[in-house]
């Protein structure tokens, strides 16, 4: 009796062992498995108000008229300043920051404002009394460790510190002399801001209060050199990913700024780059790059091998019209700033 009992266990054990071994072998495969996919989750605003839907009277559209005549009459500018404008939809969103799918912020270059979307309800915070005082060129944004927002304006050459709770705005270190700051990212590991200065073809590394620590890079096409770098992403390990736009490649640096690797080249087919924009990594280290001329998001591994593509040109669900910024939260929700569709689309990574 004892004898049979132990044999069963032996058999079971072998079976379990071989299953584990087999799946372990799969994980160790050089190539990724096909178990991932990316699924559309939602968009903000929920319904894209297409101007062509409403009938125009004298070239004006009814909802525009109501918004404008109420909120731009001189006597109402005060309430607008205090309570915010009536329309809280983005016009040309460039970047997103998210805690989760119910709490995220949109950096909207079109109106020069930030829009918080909390539980599907948007609220715009505009900086400035009149349209022409609005920030003209918001490009990118990042959180610091306290989840305060820092964003760049590439025309005013400044980094702004925005406290989303109290809606306060101030300039981060107004003695900084930045040349067209675009991408910005925060390294939690080093407690530093890394801001890309596109015109100077370099990255400036700043302390938490904006003091310049050092700069990285110069113009060129070698490793560690840049040609119009734009967007930047720093993962939780401090690894830095830079979109080296006019060298049509992604460069990867370690947390100390030492060059690690680069991949990508100029081309008109999948796996190449044409107009790479935002970059982000998911919790598995896959690299997502938006391409504004292909109107897709391409997913790569660190070696530059193409893993996935999603999106296509258009205005419907899962389509883009010049996607720019991209953000991925801890739960692998992927937020894409679909700039000329005036919306943010949210996807999620599904798989093991």
């Amino acid at each position: 009796m004892n004898h049979c009992f132990s044999f069963k266990y032996l058999l079971a054990g072998t079976l379990i062992f071989s299953v584990i071994h087999f799946s372990a072998a799969q994980v160790h495969n050089k190539q990724e498995t096909n178990n991932y996919s990316i699924q559309w989750k939602g968009q903000y605003p929920a319904v894209v108000k297409k101007k062509s839907d409403s009938k125009s009277v004298n070239g004006k559209y009814p909802d525009e008229d109501a918004d404008r005549s109420k909120s731009t009459r001189k006597k109402n500018w005060f309430t607008d300043l205090v309570l915010g404008k009536k329309s809280d939809y983005p016009v040309k969103p460039m970047a997103i920051l998210a805690l989760n799918a119910d709490t995220f912020w949109i950096a909207d270059q079109g109106t020069g404002s930030f829009i918080s979307v909390i539980n599907r309800v948007g609220e715009m915070t505009q900086f400035g009394k009149r349209d022409h005082e609005n920030l003209p060129s918001i490009v990118d944004c990042c959180f610091n460790s306290r989840k305060e927002i820092f964003f760049t304006d590439s025309k005013l050459n400044a980094i702004y510190h925005f406290f989303p709770g109290i809606k306060k705005l101030e300039v981060l270190n107004d003695s900084l002399a930045l040349e067209q700051p675009t991408g910005i990212a925060y390294s939690a590991v080093n407690k530093q801001f890394w801001v890309v200065e596109t015109k100077a073809h370099r990255i400036s590394v700043l302390s938490e209060n904006g003091k310049l620590i050092r700069t990285l890079g110069e113009r060129g096409s070698d490793a560690g050199q840049f040609n119009y770098p734009t967007y930047i992403w720093i993962d939780k390990y401090g690894t830095v990913y830079v979109v080296d736009a006019m060298n049509f490649r992604i460069q990867i640096f370690d947390k100390n700024g030492i060059f690690v690797s680069a991949f990508g080249e100029n081309g008109d087919s999948s796996g190449y780059f044409s107009r790479p924009k935002g970059i982000a990594t998911d919790s598995f280290g896959h690299i997502y790059v938006a391409d504004a001329l292909f109107n897709v998001i391409q997913v790569f591994d660190k070696q530059g091998e193409l893993l996935y593509i999603f999106g296509s040109p258009g205005h419907e669900k899962e389509q883009f019209w010049m996607p720019t910024g991209i953000y991925i939260d801890e739960s692998n929700n992927i937020y894409v700033a679909d700039s000329y569709n005036s919306r943010v689309q949210i996807f999620s990574l599904v798989g093991n």
């Binding site: 990724e32 096909n34 991932y36 996919s37 062509s52 125009s56 004298n58 070239g59 004006k60 559209y61 525009e64 008229d65 404008r68 005549s69 731009t72 009459r73 001189k74 040309k92 460039m94 270059q109 079109g110 009149r130 349209d131 022409h132 003209p136 060129s137 918001i138 490009v139 590439s154 025309k155 675009t182 596109t198 113009r219 060129g220 096409s221 040609n227 119009y228 967007y231 736009a245 100029n266 081309g267 008109d268 087919s269 999948s270 190449y272 044409s274 107009r275 924009k277 001329l293 292909f294 091998e305 193409l306 893993l307 996935y308 593509i309 258009g314 019209w321 010049m322 720019t324 700039s339």
Partner: protein, 566 residues
Amino acid sequence: MLQSVKLKVLISVVCVQFTTCFAIAQSVEFTKHNLSVRGAIDGQNQSVQSMCEFCHSPHGMKAKVPSWARSNPGTRYIMYDQMTSSTSNIPSDPTRQPDGSSILCLSCHDGTIAPNNAHSAIAPGSKSNLGTDLSDDHPVSFVYDAALAAADGQLKNTPLFPATLDANKKLQCSSCHDPHNDTYSKFLVASNEFSDLCFKCHERAYWSFSTHCTSPAVWNGSGENPWSHNEISFSTVSQNACGNCHVMHTAGMKARLLKEKQEEKNCLDCHSGTVASSEKNIQLQLTKIYKHDVFAYENIHEPNEAPLVTLNKKHVECADCHNPHAVNGTQAEAPFVKGAITGVVGIDQNGNAVNAIQYEYELCFRCHSENPVTSPTTSRHIEQGNTRLEFASTSVSFHPVEIKGKNNNVPGLVYPLTESSIIYCTDCHASNGRGSTAGPHGSIYPQILKYQYEKKDNTPETAFAYELCYSCHTRDQYNSDIGDNVQRKIHYRHVVTEKTPCNACHDPHGISNTQGNMVNNNHLINFDKSIVNARENGELNFQDGGYRSGQCNLSCHGVEHNSRGY
């Protein structure tokens, strides 16, 4: 034989392409669009290929297959420069998004690689009046054909070279900008001096006669540079042409692509003594207390609004009276419009809308007729707020604004006025002060009067008290007690001795025949109720007795006039 011909053709085509590419490349090399690394660093001429690849993606790469979706063979994207192909991946877009070559420009000109001067370029509706669209740039990515030109009314049927449309007959960034060639600055395809480039597509009625087209005025250097909104600006008004007021990208007033959001600021930037001559310093006039308050209204005026202004959209802007594309220095005689107000809409003497006024009063009737924006300040026996009815040719008595006056005998008219003269509204309502700009902009006198016009009872008679009246009616008719009954008993007695203002008895506009009659209201008689009271028996009237005679039934200064005549 055929093959040989094909081969020859092929070779020559290739040669032509090469030389064209080479020629274009030579011009890109020294512009901002040469994004290549080496070219900037050591000034060496890189191979032609790598200056082009930033916009012209190299093709023929084998598409990569995504590892997570091996069933997807990968795509080759057909880029904008192959737009002539019907299988382009950047489709033509019917919903007002930029498309075609404009996408390529906007993909860098979004504040990241290049400045985002054109950050909200969206196509328009069917009219050149863009409504309250959020876009503040010249519209792109719309079909420009004869139908559009017809609907708009001020466009050429098709753009003139070198402004071109794309393969789908759409206007794109490339219609005005050639990214390879920076000869005219800002990569424009043609010089925009005198707005030559604008006029490749736009046609503006009256423009070639307008002062804004021909004026050699320059900025005198004080205050803000009125042309700072333009990246390419010239030194005279005539050279800047459209650019005096309009800006193509990041316009302050988005709907009309005007540089300033506040309507009047577009005009006052120059009409403040800094560019336009001092006679046209309107800003100065608008500092006076009584004015057409252009500052008080924003975003109500529409260029295609109805001529008759309604009270719920009450407003006044420079553009309500002036057509900036048409204004010129032509002089005229009353009642005809002068050059300053040509090409504006109005309401004629019958209350009908007109597209281009012929007479000055038609302009005033926009706001001072059926929907009067102001009320009479004198409370009169016969009340009438509609100025058009007061001055009508059928009226009982009126100042000759629309037609010659009824009275053929008006002694003491100041030369050159005669009983056949017609006058302008602006002969009385205008900015005060010698040398002030013509027109009712602002005055120190109420009702924007040009001269002093005292209305209070017990006003001592002086040349200054009734300056307005005396500007046309010689003072010695009223302040001398020599003459007939009218001069002694009526005018001298009342105006000088009793210190009664002209306004007490006379209504300076007119009395409509629906309210008054020829017995009681000739000679503009319409009593000021705060000064002239009814008799104890309730009677209050003037009765015309014929040539220079009449009688009154009223009570003034406590004195009862019982058919007191002269």
